[in-house]
Amino acid sequence: MTTMNSNDDQESRTVPPTVAQQIDENLKRLYSETTSEDLPPSLTELLNALREKDAQKKSGDE
């Protein structure tokens, strides 16, 4: 088990704030395309099927 109690530990495991910021900004760039992509048809079809199933269930209950 590792502990993060000593300053030495903290020091050796962190990067300068500028580097941390740089990494985070590039991670955002890396995933920005994915988050702005259209959803694949398989996923929207799945949602539609689930909603339809729920609707059928509801009307069946009544």
Binding site: M4, S12, R13, T14, V15, P16, T18, V19, A20, Q22, I23, D24, E25, N26, L27, K28, R29, L30, Y31, E33, T34, T35, S36, E37, L39, P40, S42, L43, L46, L47, L50, R51, D54
Partner: protein, 191 residues
């Protein structure tokens, strides 16, 4: 009062789920490292969430709830497939020659490759906090751990990435190497 009540009324998670799918897909890609597996994982997550919506407490954080389902699904699949997973990290560091250019932009393919070598705990912390803009608290809720744990996992992950991508030296932060610019100019679509 009625209008205010309506405005504050929690939306049905069955409707709201769609707004979280893009970020869930990004998280899944970061965890699996593969577009097809990621979309399969998101599909499994949607199916599980749908069957568990009656357990979701209205007014609590749907995003963290969904991300937790995806994460747990991934981890249990990973345990099942543990034997099939090959470790490609061995000669990885030697292959890297990444440098950020003067804007601090780095070659995304190399960042993506480096990210894949991190232990899953560090990767998920960086994906949530770094890539997807979760607060440390929300990431902690998602991963079922303390905020301090998320912070230290993210820090350790950044440290390793900085080492793999040679970002840990000040002089390289101001590099204007033209080959890096060329790599960045031709930056491929990662996924």
């Amino acid at each position: 009062m009625t209008t205010q009540k309506e405005a504050l009324a929690p939306t049905d998670p069955r409707d709201e789920i769609v707004t979280h799918l893009p970020a869930l897909r990004a998280f899944a890609r970061g965890l699996t490292g593969n577009v097809t597996s990621a979309d399969d994982l998101v599909q499994d997550t949607v199916l599980k969430a749908w069957s568990k919506f009656d357990q979701f407490k209205e007014g609590t954080n749907l995003r963290a709830w969904l991300f937790t389902i995806l994460r747990n699904t991934f981890l249990s699949q990973q345990r099942k497939r543990a034997k099939e997973v090959s470790d490609s990290t061995g000669s990885f560091a030697a292959k890297l020659a990444s440098k950020p250019d003067h804007d601090g932009r780095m070659a995304l393919q190399e960042l993506n490759d480096a990210l894949k070598t991190l232990p899953v705990e560090q990767r998920e912390a960086l994906l949530l906090v770094g890539a997807l803009g979760f607060s440390v608290e929300e990431a902690a809720e998602t991963c079922g751990c303390a905020p301090g744990t998320i912070k230290s996992r993210a820090n350790r992950g950044r440290k390793t990435l900085a080492e793999l991508l040679n970002l840990d030296r000040e002089d390289q932060l101001v590099s204007t190497d033209s080959s890096v610019a060329a790599v960045m100019a031709a930056s491929p679509t990662i996924f």
